[in-house]
């Protein structure tokens, strides 16, 4: 029973876990500067692969595609998700509400292969050509329930007498929504948007199923390139993406920090 000893063991354990978690990422980053052209035998520092990334027009277009899909789908699904959360919030019967929530969660718990396959059938059935639109629609569809789940708790936390107060002060239904409800649940809306953004950027399986006509996103592109073997321009690309991710995380962290402060204060009275 030596607390100091115990602490150092747990510290070591945590260190190993972190080392393994970050090893692949660091590995990618380190070798993105390798002039040797392989992911072993570091030969020397070079920026050649970054140059290759920026001169690869096809890759740049795909990056752009991915971003456009992510931004559009998360914006649209945020709107739909907020509407969905408001719809569920307004349903009074507990049973109907639970039924709606269960239906909402189907797409969250479903394996993405099944989602991809079923969307493929759906799009083929209604004659939607596979490509940009089908990928966009699919991303919107699977992001909506995530936004609903992020927004609904904020609605339920909201003091319902705020709505009475707003109407009492003369606000119409639309005024109550825009001047009170939406501002109060704003942290949830932001969190939902960010979640939708990451799900969209991260998605591979669903996109893989519903894409076509030469339209591709980064995940799908990396998959096909990785199957052909190692190419250090992917390393360079992943380093860049990693930097963007970190920037996003820091941004998200700062936003949630700023959002949570007044809310916490409110609870503490």
């Amino acid at each position: 029973m030596n607390p100091a000893g115990k602490r150092s063991w747990s510290g070591l354990y945590l260190f190993v876990v972190f080392a393994i978690l970050y090893a692949p990422i660091l590995y990618l980053v380190v070798y993105s500067f390798n002039s040797g052209g392989t992911m072993h035998g570091y030969e020397g520092f070079t920026l050649e692969w970054y140059g290759e990334v920026f001169s690869d027009v096809r890759l740049l277009i795909i990056v752009l595609n991915t971003l456009v899909i992510a931004l559009f789908s998360s914006a649209i699904s945020t709107v739909l998700g907020v509407i969905g959360a408001l719809a569920i919030y307004r349903v009074r019967r507990q049973q109907s509400r639970n039924a709606l929530l269960s239906l909402n969660n189907v797409l969250i718990v479903s394996p993405d292969v099944v989602i991809g396959a079923s969307f493929l059938i759906l799009f083929t059935m209604i004659g939607l050509q596979l490509g940009f639109i089908s990928v966009l629609v699919a991303h919107i569809a699977f992001s909506v329930p995530i936004v609903v789940l992020m927004v609904l708790p904020k609605l339920q936390e909201m003091n319902p007498s705020l709505l009475d107060a707003a109407r009492d002060l003369g606000a119409s239904g639309w005024g109550v929504l825009t001047k009170v409800v939406l501002p109060v649940i704003r942290p949830g809306i932001f969190a939902g948007f960010f979640m939708a953004l990451t799900y969209s950027l991260d998605d591979f399986a669903v996109t893989f199923f519903v894409t076509g006509n030469g339209f591709s996103t980064l995940s799908v592109e990396i998959y096909s390139r990785a199957r052909q073997g190692v190419s250090l321009s992917i390393n360079a690309l992943s380093t860049l993406l990693f930097l963007v991710t970190i920037a996003l995380v820091i941004g998200y962290y700062l936003i949630s920090l700023r959002n949570s402060r007044p809310a916490e204060g409110g609870q503490n009275r």
Partner: protein
Amino acid sequence: MKDDAIIRFDQVTMRYGPEDVVLDKVSFELQPGKFYTLLGPSGCGKTTILRLIAGFADPTEGTVYIGDVPMNGVPANKRRVNTVFQDYALFPHLNVFENVAFGLRIKKLKKDVIQAKVSEALRFVNLVGYENRKISEMSGGQRQRVAIARAIVNEPDVLLLDEPLSALDLKLRTEMQVELRELQRRLGITFVFVTHDQEEALAMSDEIYVLNKGRIQQSGTPIDIYDEPINRFVADFIGESNILEGKMIRDYRVEFGGSEFDCVDGGFLPNELVEIVIRPEDLEVVSPEEGKLKVRVESQLFRGVHYEIVGRDRSGNRWLVHSTRSVKVGDEIGLRFGPEAIHVMRFGETEEDFDRRLEAFAEVNHAK
């Protein structure tokens, strides 16, 4: 009087289910410029009345009038009344200024008008200098004031207050009682104040409505209600009292506790069984010989301003006495009281019956 009533309830019934009757054919009217209190235990329907006036609910039957206009179906945002909520319901995303300005912005008033009105409202509630504070930075009492400012800035005809003091501690509550009363006088508008605290009601109101189980039990000035409760519920709910059974021998003569006494009530049947109310502070402790009633002391508690003495008379009735004089437990003491201290109530009498009886009695007396 009907013409100048600012709020009128006409046979208003509120039902949430066939068995769940919250208000049962309630009728009353409120005059402008007065401070009204709806008083009753939780679930008596007082908050429902407030919600019906504010427009958060519509009556199942009957009509609510504001001014002389029926309000059924008119939404809350179209009514010239404003509410101070129990939990204040201040908007957490807006600062103090914007909270108060909320209603004015909805009306799309000009910027400088809004600025002027908000400043004036904040001056009214002594919150000048707090404009840019966040709600989370305000204390309970300050939030209360913001909520009041936010309501009165819209210059409503009626201000509704839903137990606004219940979240405050005792000292602050007493201060706010004085301030609210003062505010109502300065504004000159009607206040409808909901509370379950009888002391609050007695201290602040021009008129009190005592409610129980969806019906108005009694209405009147605080003094009327305190001195002339019409039934056991009101007597019990307002202040402390000795309530015991008795018999009305004839007008001005009543029997209880084994003796007959003179009293000031009349209009009963001969030998009618009645309930007697005597307030503990109307009883004077004297020697057994001097007393109209003899009581054996069972317990005594020191309450600060007075001693609270509990005793029992020979017929077994329990007597609560407030006295500045200390007595000994186990001693026999005498109780003295005047005829006007005895208040006689008919069993199960409603307010209308009570008024009718008094009128009839007065006419008979007049004829004599």
